[in-house]
Each structure stands twice: as C-alpha cells, then as structure tokens.
Symmetry: C2
DNA sequence: GCTTGCTCTGAAACGCGTTTCATACTTTAC
DNA sequence: GTAAAGTATGAAACGCGTTTCAGAGCAAGC
C-alpha cells in the first residue's frame, strides 16, 4: 500500500511535495501535483492518520465524559455535541463512566496523552481539583454552574430552576412539597435542600427521594410515596422520565393527578408532552452544541442557558 | 516535558530499556527500572499516545456508527457496547450519521486510515457493497441479519419478530392490522410487507405509516389514524416510544385501548411497562455487548439473539 | 570444561506525515 | 535594469514510542 516516500519515489518528487500536493497546499506545479496523484492512485495509498496526529500534535477529536449513554438526558446533550462536532469536522471519543472516578480519570488521561484535543464533561463524580490539574493539557468544558478561570462551563442554573418549580407550587398554596434527587450526596442535592429551606418553613427529610434517574425509579418512588402516612401532595421530580414513572404508577394505584399529588418534571422531553406533565424545559441539545463550541475556543468561557416552566395538567 | 529519549539520557540507559521499563516488560534489571521511573517522574513524562498508535499500528479504539445518539433504541445498544468496551480497555469513537451516506463513508474511512481497529454499524443507509470494500481494513460488525463471509453480524430476526406480533393479533381474531415503519424504502419495510402478505389476505398500503421513530411520530400517526374512515383496529408499532405516543394520543382523543385499537410495540423499554403496552422484547444491551465482542474476534461471526413477546394490556 | 539457555541491553530500524529552512527561478514593480 | 515579491521544490528535522536483532554476561546441565 505504500507510504508517502514510495509516492515521492514513483512521482519523482520529494516527500514534502507529496504532502503538499495531497493536502491541497499552494505552490505545487500542476504537473507534479498530477504525478503525485497518479502515483498515489496507483499505490492505493491511504494516509496513516496516526502519523498525521503525531506530526501535527492534534487529533481533531474531542473526548466526551458521560455517566450513562443510554439515558435520554445525556442522550440529548450528546446529540447536540455530535451535531456540532460533525459540522466542524471533529470526531468524538466517548467514555461512559457510571460515575466511577477511575473511569473519569481514565478519560482525563486521554487529554494528557494527546488522544483528544479537548474534553467535555457532562457530569462527574470526581472533585473539581482533580480536573483542574488537567486543564493545562487542553480545553475542558463542564456542563455545570462554575466560575473557574481555567475550566469552561455551560449550564442551566439548577438552583434557580428548582426554585422556580417550588414557587410554582407555593404560589398556588401548595406547601407540602417533596422532591427527588439523583444522588443524596451530590452537589445539586445540597443546592436543592438550600432552595427548599429558603422557600418553605419546614424541611422534611423523609420527603426527599434519592436515586431518581429512570422510569423505574419513578415507579419505585411512587410506591414509597403511596406507602407513607404523612405524604406530600406535590413533587418536584429530577427529570421527565422519573416523573412519568411516578405519574403512571400513581394512576395505577388510583391516585388522581394533580388532585392527590401534583407533579413537576424537568427537561421537557416529548414524553412529558404526551403525558401532559408540567415541566421545566432545559435546552439540552443546545447545551451540547455550545459545549462543543466552547471546547474549541482559545479562551475559557462561561455560558448560562435559560429555562422555562411549561404549565401542563399535572399541577 | 520530555520524551523517552530524554529519560534514556538522564537514566543512563537506552530508549529501548525505557520503553521496556515503562511498559512492565520482563528482562529489565531492578536498578535500571528504578532509574527510568525516577527520571520519568522528574521530567513529568507523559507518553504521546499517538506515537504509540503509530508504532503499534493499532489504537485500541473501536468506531461506532449510529444514526441518532439521542434515541433510546440506539442509546441502549450503545450502552451495551460501551460497557463491554470499558471492560476490555477499549475506547469508542462515535459517529452520528443521521442516515447520511457521506457521514457513513466518513466513518468507514476511520477504519481505512487506522484511526480505529474495528467498526460497529448499528444501522446504515449505504449499500452493503460499499461496506464490503472496507472489510480488508479491520473487523466490521453490523447489527442486522446478514450471512456475509467478510462482515460479522449480530441481530434479532426482525422478520420473525414482526411475524410474532402479527400472529399474536390474528390468533385473537384480529385481522384489521396496521403497522409503522421508520423509512418507507428501508430493508425492514420490505421484510414487514412480506411478512404481512404471508399472514393476511389483503395488504392495505394506507395502513402502513412511515417515519415512525419518536414519541411525537406516534402522536402524529395517532392523529392520522383517527382521521381515517376505514381504519385498522390493531397496530404493530416500530418501538415502544412511538407506541407510547400513539397510545397516549389515542387516549386523549377518547379512544379505548385495546378496544378501539390494540397495540404492540418493540424493545420492552421500561416505558412500555409503565404504560402497560404489549411489546416484543429485544435484548438491545446484550446486542451491543456481543457486537463489541465480535469486533475483537479474528474471525467473522454471526449471532442471532432471541426475542419474546410480553403480553400486557394494550392487546 | 563446554554447551545450552536465560537474563539484560542497546543500536538501529520502523511506523509516517508535516513543516521549516534554504535555495533557485520567475514575475512584477519602479 | 535592478530590486522586491512571489512561485516551486527538496533536504532534513521533527513528532515519539516499539520492536527486532545481535551480543554480552552468567548460571545450570552433563
């Protein structure tokens, strides 16, 4: 199959000229260019992209860290990243971490080893200090609220979004409010608790349900909710899938929505539209698109995206 | 930051010994290994993975072609692929094609250019002949029924699965059956039409609804269905999301399920469980896992996976 | 005592394209 | 007519780790 030097020999030019001809550089005479192209054709020449990567010191590839690829929340972000990557001629190297720190470190090392030119972290478990240490190797974009001088960020203010959902209830005189979180110990759990305590007189730890990510989690939580003697009559739920599981299980157990329990989800996934669930729309696709744009920028940037509550009939 | 030759100089050994020491090869004396490790530490040495890829002629990376990353069907396959890739220490390079042939070719070229060691094609638009041409560059696994000598495959027999769904209706005396397809001109559409004509006396072209991929498509199709004067009273629907959209819109329009229209979906996504939709379970995660295993095998292999119909209350 | 077989090392080749620098020849420019 | 500017090209350096081959040193086997 040959390499660039074989072509050079056959075409009677130097390897430098072959490289220039093949990459469409100016300053190559028409006859030499033709000779190179002919020789390349003849040898069925194919570039070894790894040699290109080595020589150029970049790979036109961006790494994407995400905990679960099959979850729609991350799927939509990834969709936005992928669309923009394609538009700009970049490839994506994805690492599914399951929130395993070792996996996250593995992904960070791709940046250090020059396997990727930049890194987008859609969600993480490891401490920010660890990520900081990698910022010297390439641009890193986090999908979370952050004001960092070396790490870029793009986010929807989860704190405000949660406040908005709570207010939507309290303004309607609903104050017995429960909510769900993904991880009891996560940053956003703390933020939610803080928002809750700011708006409501009393915090009910038993009205906080954790491990809420999937439809099944919603189903499970509805069961736990139904089994309580002193239960909330409104729920702010992590995402529309959990909300869907919760709502459908409540219905199955013969509770009325929103009379027995009002529901607000997040994301505005089409599912919430189909189930008529009130939700806080998050521009996930756009978040991915912007994350990708930021990862290519020289400078560190921060980008807050808007959200809006969509009132449907689950409240 | 230095390279392997700098380390060699400082440690007073050759580059070959540095390479051996750093990669844990045997036959390196303890003192030289220690000297190398110390020098590497001192220089904050980091391997340039691109040089490794070039030297080794492989990248420990597998390419994954998928039309839409944010659709749960592909999300679950990708989840299976990613889980197995992690287990085996491989990285994944994903290309979202939107069924654009140019994008698909772009992805195939990653194999030719040695950017990936193998390729998994979850779904495609381009002709199989085109893909064949790339089989010499590395193992390619297709997620579709195929008996090819140079391309591996892993699949659920869509034809049989569709037949099973149809039989489930006909055995209950239901014969006015419509169905949905993703793309009117696709291979699976032809297969479905064939299966339909084998089991039912008359084929109704107007009872075939295409572009059925998302919840919204299901909603739209329900509207079209409801507007018909002569409409089927049973539907075999591409996947559980479309089925969910269809079912929920039918309910909204005050039709009863399954009395007015019975529904069978595909995938057994948790959503179908929550909505009590009868579905044909497809082992998508496992499909991904096996696809990944196959891509690493020396030999071409073919793998058919089982499906099973799960009877719920939409029929 | 001599052969066989390890253990350990380094030189050099190998994988391969890009880019800088120097050079030489043409064209414009004034 | 000469300087300045542009066009065209090749040699060589550069990016960098892996692996083969040859050889040296040393211990076990008979």
């Amino acid at each position: 199959m040959g390499n660039i030097h074989d072509i050079a020999r056959i075409a009677g030019v130097s390897a430098a000229t072959v490289s220039r001809a093949l990459n469409g550089h100016p300053y190559v005479s028409d006859d030499k260019r033709a000779a190179v192209l002919k020789a390349a054709e003849q040898l069925h020449y194919e570039k070894n992209i790894n040699a290109v990567h080595l020589a150029k010191g970049k790979t036109d590839t961006i790494g994407v860290i995400l905990p679960f690829v099959s979850h729609p929340y991350f799927g939509f972000i990834l969709g936005g990243i992928a669309a923009e990557a394609e538009r700009q001629g970049y490839k994506l190297l994805i690492v599914q971490t399951n929130y395993d720190i070792l996996q996250e470190i593995d992904a960070l090392n791709m940046l250090k080893l020059k396997q990727v030119d930049g890194l987008i972290i859609t969600s993480r478990e490891c401490p920010i200090e660890l990520i900081e240490d990698y910022s010297e190797y390439g641009r890193i974009v986090l999908c979370e609220a952050l004001a960092h001088s070396r790490l870029s960020s793009v986010f929807v203010d989860q704190f405000k979004a949660f406040q908005t959902a709570l207010s939507f209830f309290t303004q309607r005189g609903i104050s017995r409010i429960g909510y769900t979180v993904l991880r009891a110990e996560g940053k956003s759990s703390l933020a939610r608790k803080k928002a809750y305590e700011e708006q409501l007189s009393r915090f009910h730890p038993e009205w906080v349900f954790d491990r809420a990510l999937t439809i099944e989690d919603g189903t499970r939580i509805a069961g736990e909710w139904a089994a309580m003697t002193d239960r909330p009559n409104a729920m702010v739920i992590t995402n529309d899938f959990v909300a869907a599981g919760f709502l459908l299980e409540c219905r199955r157990l013969c509770f009325a929505i929103p009379e027995d329990v009002a529901i607000i989800g997040f994301d505005n996934h089409p599912l919430s539209g189909a189930l008529d669930i009130t939700t806080v729309e998050l521009p996930l696709h756009e978040l991915g698109t912007i994350a990708f744009q930021q990862v290519l920028l020289k400078d560190v940037t921060h980008h807050e995206l808007p959200f809006r509550l969509i009132h449907r009939n689950s409240v």
